[in-house]
């Protein structure tokens, strides 16, 4: 069985609903609750992380190419999450530099490209926002 998303969802529910209540009053009870919530979040992210990264890479490649930096085609050689993240991070650094340079310009083309970059940033943030946590037994953990 390699249905990681389902397994993490179930492990998380067990930690939050069964283990944590038995540890109520002990400091480790809070740890169990938070670990359970994050197991659920990890299962959700496991399902979509590769898709998010490939889309982020594709959008950033296109934005940078529009400014004359590199090619628009992603040319992804490895779909390991760690490799995709390394590629995404390298492009994000270039995007930060590009956006800062665009903000210093006053022409319509620069403003339009900056608007597109903000559209990309907003889409990235929205895509990466985890589902709201199901607080309950985990109620005392936030600090």
């Amino acid at each position: 069985m390699s249905d990681v998303g389902m397994i993490l969802q179930r492990l998380g529910a067990t930690l939050v609903n069964e283990v944590a209540p038995k540890l109520e009053g002990d400091y480790s009870g809070g740890h169990a609750s938070m670990a359970g919530l994050m197991a659920v979040m990890a299962g959700e992210m496991w399902e979509k992380e590769a898709d998010l990264l490939v889309n982020e890479i594709g959008r950033m490649k296109a934005l940078l190419a529009a400014a004359g930096i590199g090619e628009a085609e992603p040319h992804i050689e490895s779909f390991l999450i760690s490799d995709l993240k390394a590629m995404r991070n390298e492009l994000a650094m270039q995007l930060i530099e590009l956006q800062a340079s665009l903000e210093a310009k006053d022409d319509e083309g620069s403003k339009a490209l900056n608007t597109q970059i903000w559209g990309h940033l907003l889409a990235t943030c929205a895509g990466r926002m985890p589902s709201p946590p199901a607080f309950g037994a985990a109620g005392e953990g936030e600090g």
């Binding site: 400091y27 938070m34 403003k111 903000w118 940033l121 907003l122 990235t124 990466r128 936030e142 600090g143």
Partner: protein, 353 residues
């Protein structure tokens, strides 16, 4: 008979002689209860019951021991936190705990620590479960903004906090805070932060008006950092580790940040309608509400949040602190604040929502 719990027997043994030496006239002091409590990822926090004798007979006392961990959410000096509590305790009705001992030497307990009086009879409010305060939401809300304003109302000249840290110029409060958190983000980020970087540039290019007054800033005044009595009264304001002197709008904006509002944008901090909250805060603080100042400081609050969560993630990833709250903060709350920042800044640059 209640169960006796000593969560950390070695710490209890070390604490006994220290406390006895620091309580005038105390002898035969012993720790009869020591529970590690949540809400203290930035420091290890223990609720401690001590029993001792003095010239008038047997005594018992509840205290809170805050010891520095190997790493913490925020790199702040416990000396400043201690001074902030001393500044607020007993003033303007602010229910700050009583500051008892401060020890900066690592000798007695293996790490610096301080001790406060424990405020009895209060319960925390999870910022993600604000509905739990019903049916006293409005009363707690008015107390919340009254205490927030009262902190801003204190005269700071000659206070313990003013003796401990620098007082910025009114037109430099924003820059000092922005520079500090920008540095925290850049030092601790494990991945590029394009939204944070864009926000830093925007905030630097569009500064707020100078502070109307210089005040004690709690630094982390929000749901989750106070205790209430279940009857509509806030009986403790806690977690002063980010306290400093600055612009009162910093506290107002952080206290009403969307993250702490339970997704309720109609009620300030998720408690009472915005006009009511502002009216209570203005009366208690002596400040007048300025939308331009609030706009800047509320954007900054999202960025400051990112700084805290990025620092948390770094501490967890580096193995300095295994508390899962740090990982959760570095993930969920980081994502939430990043989305808030992007949602507010993108329209300023032409994105139609």
């Amino acid at each position: 008979m209640p169960e006796v719990v000593i969560d950390n027997p070695e710490l209890a043994r070390q604490f006994e002689p220290y406390a006895e030496a620091h309580i005038p006239g105390a002898r035969n002091l012993r720790v009869v209860q020591m529970r590690r409590i949540h809400g203290g990822a930035s420091r290890q926090t223990y609720s401690v019951d001590i029993a001792y004798e003095d010239a008038t007979g047997p005594k018992t006392k509840g205290v809170i021991l805050r010891r520095d961990p190997a790493d913490s959410l925020i790199d702040t000096e416990r000396r400043v936190e201690f001074a902030a509590i001393r500044t607020a305790h007993g003033k303007a009705g602010i229910p700050a705990p009583e500051a008892l001992f401060l020890e900066t030497d690592t000798g007695p307990l293996g790490a610096p620590f301080f001790v406060m009086g424990r405020i009895e009879g209060g319960m925390p409010l999870n910022p993600f479960q604000i509905d739990a305060v019903e049916p006293h939401r409005a009363e707690v809300g008015r107390e919340f903004f009254r205490h927030l304003g009262a902190i801003a109302s204190l005269e700071i000249d000659g206070t313990p906090i003013a003796e401990e840290i620098e007082t910025p110029a009114p037109d430099q409060c924003w820059k000092r805070e922005l520079d500090y958190w920008a540095n925290e983000i850049r030092t601790n980020a494990r991945e590029p932060q394009p939204v944070a970087e864009a926000a830093i540039r925007y905030l630097a290019a569009n500064p707020p008006p100078p502070a109307q007054k210089l005040s004690l800033v709690h630094g982390d005044f929000r749901s989750g950092n106070f205790l209430h009595d279940g009857q509509g009264r806030i009986n403790a304001v806690l977690d002063w580790e980010m306290a400093h002197i600055g612009d009162p709008y910093e506290d107002l904006a952080w206290a009403t940040d969307l993250l702490w509002c339970g997704n309720d944008q109609e009620r300030a901090a998720g408690f009472i309608p915005w006009p009511d909250a502002i009216a209570v805060w203005q009366e208690a603080s002596g400040c007048s509400f300025d939308p331009a100042a609030f706009e800047w400081w509320s954007l900054f609050a999202h960025l400051k949040g990112l700084g805290i969560w990025i620092t948390s993630a770094r501490a967890f990833a580096d193995g300095k602190n295994d508390d899962p709250i740090l990982a959760w903060s570095g993930w969920f709350t980081h994502a939430a604040h990043e989305l808030m920042l992007a949602s507010r800044l993108a329209p300023k640059f032409g994105v139609k929502l």
